[in-house]
Subunit: 429 residues, 4 copies
Amino acid sequence: MLSHDIRSRLPQLRREFHRYPEPGWCEFRTTSRVVEELERLGVDRIAVGREALSTDHRMAVPDESELAFWHERARAAGAREDVLELTAAGHTGVVATLERGEGPTVGLRVDLDAISLQESDEPGHRPADEGFVSEHDGYMHACGHDAHLAIALGTIEAVKESDFSGTFRVFFQPAEEISGGGKPMTESGHVDDVDYLLGFHVGLDTPTGTIVAGVEKPLAMAHLTATFEGASAHAGKAPNEGANAMQAVATAIQNAYAIPRHADGMTRVNLGRIEGGIASNVIAEEITLHGEVRGETMALMEYARTELERVLYSAAEMHDCDVTPRVISESPRVDSDPRLRDLIGHVARNHDAVEEVVSTVEFGASEDATFLMEHVQGNSGLASYVIVGTDHPTNHHTPTFDVDERCLGIGVDVLTDAVVETGRRRPGA
Amino acid sequence: MLSHDIRSRLPQLRREFHRYPEPGWCEFRTTSRVVEELERLGVDRIAVGREALSTDHRMAVPDESELAFWHERARAAGAREDVLELTAAGHTGVVATLERGEGPTVGLRVDLDAISLQESDEPGHRPADEGFVSEHDGYMHACGHDAHLAIALGTIEAVKESDFSGTFRVFFQPAEEISGGGKPMTESGHVDDVDYLLGFHVGLDTPTGTIVAGVEKPLAMAHLTATFEGASAHAGKAPNEGANAMQAVATAIQNAYAIPRHADGMTRVNLGRIEGGIASNVIAEEITLHGEVRGETMALMEYARTELERVLYSAAEMHDCDVTPRVISESPRVDSDPRLRDLIGHVARNHDAVEEVVSTVEFGASEDATFLMEHVQGNSGLASYVIVGTDHPTNHHTPTFDVDERCLGIGVDVLTDAVVETGRRRPGA
Amino acid sequence: MLSHDIRSRLPQLRREFHRYPEPGWCEFRTTSRVVEELERLGVDRIAVGREALSTDHRMAVPDESELAFWHERARAAGAREDVLELTAAGHTGVVATLERGEGPTVGLRVDLDAISLQESDEPGHRPADEGFVSEHDGYMHACGHDAHLAIALGTIEAVKESDFSGTFRVFFQPAEEISGGGKPMTESGHVDDVDYLLGFHVGLDTPTGTIVAGVEKPLAMAHLTATFEGASAHAGKAPNEGANAMQAVATAIQNAYAIPRHADGMTRVNLGRIEGGIASNVIAEEITLHGEVRGETMALMEYARTELERVLYSAAEMHDCDVTPRVISESPRVDSDPRLRDLIGHVARNHDAVEEVVSTVEFGASEDATFLMEHVQGNSGLASYVIVGTDHPTNHHTPTFDVDERCLGIGVDVLTDAVVETGRRRPGA
Amino acid sequence: MLSHDIRSRLPQLRREFHRYPEPGWCEFRTTSRVVEELERLGVDRIAVGREALSTDHRMAVPDESELAFWHERARAAGAREDVLELTAAGHTGVVATLERGEGPTVGLRVDLDAISLQESDEPGHRPADEGFVSEHDGYMHACGHDAHLAIALGTIEAVKESDFSGTFRVFFQPAEEISGGGKPMTESGHVDDVDYLLGFHVGLDTPTGTIVAGVEKPLAMAHLTATFEGASAHAGKAPNEGANAMQAVATAIQNAYAIPRHADGMTRVNLGRIEGGIASNVIAEEITLHGEVRGETMALMEYARTELERVLYSAAEMHDCDVTPRVISESPRVDSDPRLRDLIGHVARNHDAVEEVVSTVEFGASEDATFLMEHVQGNSGLASYVIVGTDHPTNHHTPTFDVDERCLGIGVDVLTDAVVETGRRRPGA
């Protein structure tokens, strides 16, 4: 059972992280605070930034000026210089290891980043009412990663106090929202010896008191951008002299959404952002689309990607434009292992605060924790992605998203017990 | 014949205006400098800003913050406080009147604004080589309005020295590039008693030494914006829950360009700029299109606008979105009067520097001088829009646009003689 | 065990039906032959045509001239006058009942119609090689309904010879291919007292010797047509005077395929046939689309239909056309009951010719047997749709489709045993 | 002045041709009747069918079975065997020559074919009321070529009675509606020595009593067909396995109409007919489009054709289909010569029945008489295409089109006088 001390610190930790949201690959201040907490807790090894990642496998890294802006902002807010050095130029993240003798290696994966969204400061939004609303204008922890951080740190403390035997390693992964950090953390080597891996998320329409032992069918996904380049011309005097990127992009959008449904299962295509052209009287020379494809399997995602690329190329050709689709980031589909789900369901039922345990749900969305899960399963380990229920007044990724902080203690309880219980087993058992 | 003094000042004036380009409705510094020059020349009456415009008829006025930025910049550069006051909040422009006894009222219309374009600073671009490149980053006199200002001021000086009899009034009109200033200047009352109106433009593929006595068929035009508003949703989990502005906008673009050609003559449709949506994994909630329609006649332009609006509304409805097309600005089609063209052609041939006189050409583009011309012709006056040829190394609206400064003197010569000659006639003669 | 007599007649029966394929609602000759066979077998009651159907619930009935053509052709081929009278004007089909004392009412549903396809007469296509190729030019039993008829008649004979106790009723349903006959047969009253219902199909990529005890997830489906009506005009002289059905239909097609995927499961949209317009130099006045929507559930099918209708209406409106989408026919989704699947699987395993029994597969396609199944299940009965495996050299609905006639005996064996076995049970048991 | 005999026969001739409309290249009966009339009139030379055409230059010839159907129908109606032999397999048409001594060669071109349209038999439609409605179901002289034939025959008779000196040659050209006959008649050699060529058309919104001396700006035109070939698949089970011709064709249509307007002048694009696909539940494998492009000049028409072909190819590629656009027929733009227009206007004014003479109008449509005109002008001859006004109750190409038969006499009068007058001139004078 979680000590009173740990439990009481959780809301305070979560609220501090909530006030300082940082976007993917820019979690410099967050990383520094995590390192400070880990040192306070006294773990055995801490790998920071470059030590925790494979630089070459990073995806969707922002440009230098954005990285520099957040790096400087973190320094101004008092981030530690040693951490700033190790994380410079988009190398955020931490891997913390607790050595507890004989036993399996159990991993816990948690994500650090926030999203680009202006938080509400209206009355009725608790972070506003209680004074922990975002201080970074235009950015917000609107997906609950602040709660994840508090739960992960609480779980380390609780495992330390437990009779867990084995190695416990926590992966503080950057850039989940842009599917950028899962791959380089997986390729860092720190996941190689993990026997059991737990990922988790709060909320997702699961109410406080409910635990989903492990999700199925996170969708394989790829983010892409495509810039159409044509030729400008005077729209009144000589429209025929242009190569109209606007017409090319419209043709591409129309046909992208019409990529055929596939016999083998679910696919998704979306083009979510667009910008380009300079004025109403000029044939548009350059327009950029930001999109994604998903599939119930990697093969289905790749079907959608291949079809999308053909649509993009043909639409460009039709209007005498060029286009170069670029994959920005991607993540595979990996299902939670039923054996590990059984174990988690079993320990969850021991807690009074857990009113309902659901064995599994279909995830529907994508998650780059699947890179770590895939690696563990590939090495014959077991992995599961748990949902820790929390009531939330509005949807994830909205300006009034908030969590029920009772979920923090429940999360620590269930994850700690799962870690302890797996420590009693043999991998593959 | 133009005095040596006037002629020698023209390049210097043009280059000063070239260094300080200001966008439509933000020509605060330019207006101030024009007023200073007019006072130096000694005209009889100067109406500035609010005195020169009908406030309610202004179109395409930028938002307050942009107006304030340029207003402050002009103040910092030494613009006169009395002018700044009269022009505040988007009221740039001047009407200058020279009283010279009995005779008709002759108008000359000139435009003040520059465009949003980064000027080249590469060697070979004369403004860069000779030190008068734009000092306003991202803005440039790339359409020759700097030359227009020099010609207009030179013409006032030359008319003053001439034996012209009548009233000479010069309209320094703001916001031509965005078709915003022609209408409010026309509605100011200052055009009501004009018997003859001369508009003019340098270049337009007409070489130095050639004069086009008056253009035909400027296209009637309307600028529009349309913002599609749908509903966002998670592109992976529930694409069906969104109302996808991206699909609506693609349908609209495809069908807008496919608006049928019209039996009665030329039409144009263009959608030149687009932006919207927030991320690749979110169904786009809001996307804005910037477009225009043109026609050989007002009726044809209105045909295109009506059809475009139907396309926009139906595309929105198809995807459960809302859209509100808004007309930002517009301008009518008005042809130059053949009698006035004859007069201009006649006086132009008297100058050795004029190698060729063309009676008329089809204009192809749009011009809001047509508001003033329409008003004058409606009062039984005559109006013509003259092209003063100039070699230009690259196209209008490109970063290396420049004029051959020999055009300045030619412009003053021809326009002055046209003013003087019309002073000898009766309206409608 | 099937008597030698019955077994030996099956190929001959199937081949006779194969030679005279008739399209939906035109199975006049087929109905007549079925009646003759039933009389020969000696069943207790035979309801024919109007007696077997609810006239008002028929869907997708061809026009009078087509019905008259096939009616006359059947008469010329010797169809019985009493049958021709009862089936006139699109009332094909038979319900045959065998009374065998105490026990449940067991139904078997079989389909009569062929499709519009020219059968191959190339060597290597067995019907051509062995002289039973279609004698109705342009029509073919290319989906195996000829085999279904032989199996159903054989099963009646075998049940008659068995110790079955109860009532056995066979539904010879017309117009399955166009989803037109399931509903009116269901509404005829003959299904009301059925306790167990068996539907079946041969082939569907299931090889000879395999039995699928009952399919899941037949897709709910609706067929639609939509005629766009605009206004013609001379494409050269006055394209603007038309209301272009060609543009409307293109907009509709593009957007129909782009109807968003749904969170709740699989949907399908297809526009499979198009025709309209009169000449290349005339703006098209009228174009007709033939399409369908499907869904994993009725709600999903209706989602797709509602969205498709909005697309059609908006596309018409955009181009000043009218459109009236009409639903031609539809069928619900009904899954096979697991208890009945167990029974069927059990009896199937008793036959040596059955090499493999599969409990269930996802069906993927649509089937209007689901109307009967839905009705039976709604009355607390059990229903299952069985696949009787057969090798087939090419796909269903291709000119060289054929069945392995060993499937005929297997089908009679398994279905007869299933009927006999259900006769030993109580409904719902 | 036209003799009473000729004038009185014109309506009767026109009405006979009206009753037996034949489509392009199938004018077998019409050709036979023309030959009979020419023999009755007594011209000097008659070249029929193969003698009047260059076989290899024919365009848009129907398939053999259609040609055979009309050939047989003509034979059954009593067409002459010698004519049937010379016209077999799509070789209709006649060239008739009248030798009248010294002088220029003057040509008159007339067209023979009708269109595919069901004529109205409603009261109020004069051909119905007065018993000369079409006897060929589904075909109609709805463009006035029946009147043209009467006028041409009347003009031969009148020229014969006149004091014309020179050679008069009349080209009875087949297949004008499908732009198929102008080219092969031009390439036959019979046009080589023509000094003056007159083409003509009745109606075209020009009222009875008005003559247009010669049209300008017939549009250059090309007819095309394009068949998209993809791959079929089951729309429910495996939509991804198809290559959907329906999606390809919709993309092509959308983008074809959106081909940019051209700076140099008018262009037209139309896709007027479409058909393909087999059923609503099958991904469409093959769909055919029938379209056309036009331009104010040949270069503009070719711009539109090139762009259309790129759209077709890219749309096919986008959906993994093949497409082969084929040009079926085409015609150039040729303007009427102003000198010949003056002559025609001059003679027209001499007739009381001619109330108004218009020098020229813009034609807007296309006409393959331009092949003959182009050839004559290329040899330094003069050519003009005259409009003989007639009131017509409804538009050309509609089921209630009719002419005011007063136009027949006017046409003969004006054309005869024009022929006689040109006989008095030297070519090029």
